[in-house]
Amino acid sequence: MTESMAGVPRSTQRRHELNESRVARLERMMEIRLVEDRIQDLFAQGLVSGTTHTSQGQEAVAVGLAAATRATDFVCCTYRGHGHALALGMTPDVVLGEVLGRQIGCMGGLGGSMHLSDPDVGLLPTFAIVGAGIPVAVGAALQFATRRSDGVALSLFGDGATNIGAFHEGLNMAAVWNLPVVFVCENNLYGEYSPLETTTAVSDIATRATSYAMAADVVDGQDVEAVQAAVTRAVERARGGGGPTLVEAKTYRYVGHSRSDKAPYRKEGELDEWLARDPIELFAQKLLASGELSASALDEMRRHQSHLIDEAQEQVLASPTGTIAQMFDNVFAPTPS
């Protein structure tokens, strides 16, 4: 921790680390994968109630986006949000803690997997209603515009979400008002159990920017630096007063939609094709090739990350579950009179 970081929340620090180092980005992608694998284990062991939506295979989008933005920007993600939350800076204990209903979690354990947030890194509570976060991000962008700040709002959503009204309304209003917002669609080819082509009239989501005379970009969602570059272009456009952009990241989730989904609907061979272009592997190879990372350092990184997750899990399991008294907190915000 550098001197200047004293008193800065840990999540903000982690965001800076990510922004400053390529190695940190690889590490973060690993962390995300490990945390989500762990979440699935814990569910399998019956240690968690309810449901969860993990994003194994999509880590490059989360990390690329986080690397392209500032902790003072605002981000609206979805129920499939562990990866983004960690990428943006939230710590594994807080994320795991919320998933496991523990007081260490960001909602004190009263929300569960779908409700992550951290104002210190600009993460608004993740949205459990499909599309709902899109207009909210537009509002965060309106806030920047109104105050003539150079902040940017980001909205993340899936391919399936582009069929809901909020997507259309949000993008149009952002375009008309020329707001500093970047819409990032993680096109993982499925909305729940439905393949894109059975629900969506176009296969490139980016096409839909035409309806709003909006800039658009399609990017390889498995390549963290491609994502970072695309989001950076969009963010710079937004900060410079150039208005919104729709970025489509082509990606894939290795796992089912939610915990109970075995994904029988996958096309034959599809999963293997995507596994062959694993975002973590791809980026690791790149860093190995450039000499930024040695093979042994990579091994060590894996071990270390795994160890940290073990530690985080221990910490979480030591944290008490939410209390009955907490149920009555935070229903209304206090208003000083």
């Binding site: 309810g50 409700h115 209603i129 069929n163 159990y193 149920m327």
Partner: protein
């Protein structure tokens, strides 16, 4: 037949589809995947892709399409996965579907069903665990019913599909996997607007709905007093006669609601019975509800949110003894 509630629903829809080729089904992942809660098992295989369709994530489009298909001759059954999602398409149910018959001077009917899963108990958190009857209760032109298990889900679903009005059926999600005896056939249809009395009694009338019916029955079965338990089943219209008749006999009314206290469905029942049975009531009408907070995550907290059988027994006991309103469990917290 011993059926899980989701099987009973699949069966009811399937029978109605076989009976009337105008019945069609759509919603998110209801066709190929047979429903996120397996409430449309076998339908795609039996009736084919024209009559059983997966929709985009477009609640406004598909509820609106249900309205349009219903007005022009079909009988659509549309599934809203979690009742909260109707929030993005609310207009189509309460302002379009509900008023169409009226707005056409009685010349168009809207025989559609909107089914939705509701309620707490499965750890889905604050935006996926409410019952939300209050959003729809009182809408002129819109019928509203709530299943309390496989048997009533079967009976209400069939009645709803045959009704010529838009009908909302709410299905407590936590009951999908629970089994009950269901006797398929016309006799098991439950007319919308009629309550049932699964338990007769003389000291107190307990009116319950959906998931709280079993809670109320359990409480009654182990209590020293004699409770008549009414499963209200329909909220719009609701069975005034059955409830009022019971309260006239028992002199006491307790409502057991899964929802938060303010504005829950019980306020409607309480206000009507309070008037109609003013001189019969020997104690205040008592509402047993959840507190005015979002549904919490975590099994212990969520369990506490929903009134338990023990809590109902305690509360009713206190009411009958003191003839005054007992305090709710959360009084110490607020």
């Amino acid at each position: 037949m011993r059926l899980r509630m989701n099987q009973a629903i699949s069966l009811a829809i399937s029978e109605e589809m076989a009976r009337d080729e105008n019945v069609i089904v759509f919603g998110e992942d209801v066709a190929v995947a047979e429903g996120p809660f397996k409430t449309s098992e076998g339908l795609l295989t039996t009736f084919g892709p024209d009559r059983v369709r997966d929709t985009p994530i477009s609640e406004t489009a598909f509820l609106g399409a249900a309205v349009g298909a219903a007005m022009t001759g079909l009988r659509p059954v549309a599934e809203i996965m979690f009742i909260e999602f109707v929030g993005v398409a609310f207009d189509q149910m309460v302002t379009e579907a509900a008023l169409m018959h009226y707005m056409s001077g009685g010349r168009y009917d809207v025989p559609m069903v909107m089914r939705a899963s509701v309620g707490s108990g499965l750890g889905f958190g604050c935006q996926h665990s409410q019952t939300l009857e209050r959003w729809m209760l009182g809408t002129p032109g819109l019928k509203l019913a709530v299943a309390s298990g496989a048997r009533s889900a079967y009976g209400l679903t069939k009645a709803a599909i045959r009704d010529n009005n838009p009908v909302v059926i709410l299905e407590p999600r936590a009951l999908y996997g629970q089994r009950e005896n269901v006797e398929p056939g016309e006799e098991s249809i439950i007319a919308l607007g009629t309550a049932q009395t699964p338990r007769a009694g003389s000291d107190v009338t307990i009116v319950a709905l959906g998931q709280t019916v079993n809670v109320a029955l359990e409480a009654a079965d182990t209590a020293p007093w004699s409770a008549e338990v009414i499963d209200l089943l329909s909220l719009m219209p609701w069975d005034r006669a059955t409830v009022i008749d019971s309260v006239r006999r028992t002199g006491h009314l307790v409502l057991v609601e899964e929802n938060q206290r303010t504005g829950g469905w019980g306020t409607e029942i309480a206000s009507v019975v309070g008037s109609a049975c003013f001189s019969d009531l020997r104690a205040p009408i008592h509402r047993i509800t959840a507190p005015d907070v979002p549904v919490p995550y975590g099994p212990d907290l969520e369990k506490r949110f929903l009134p338990s059988a023990d809590y109902v027994r305690e509360q009713v006991g206190a009411l009958l003894t003191t003839k005054t309103t007992p305090s709710p469990w959360w009084e110490e917290f607020v």
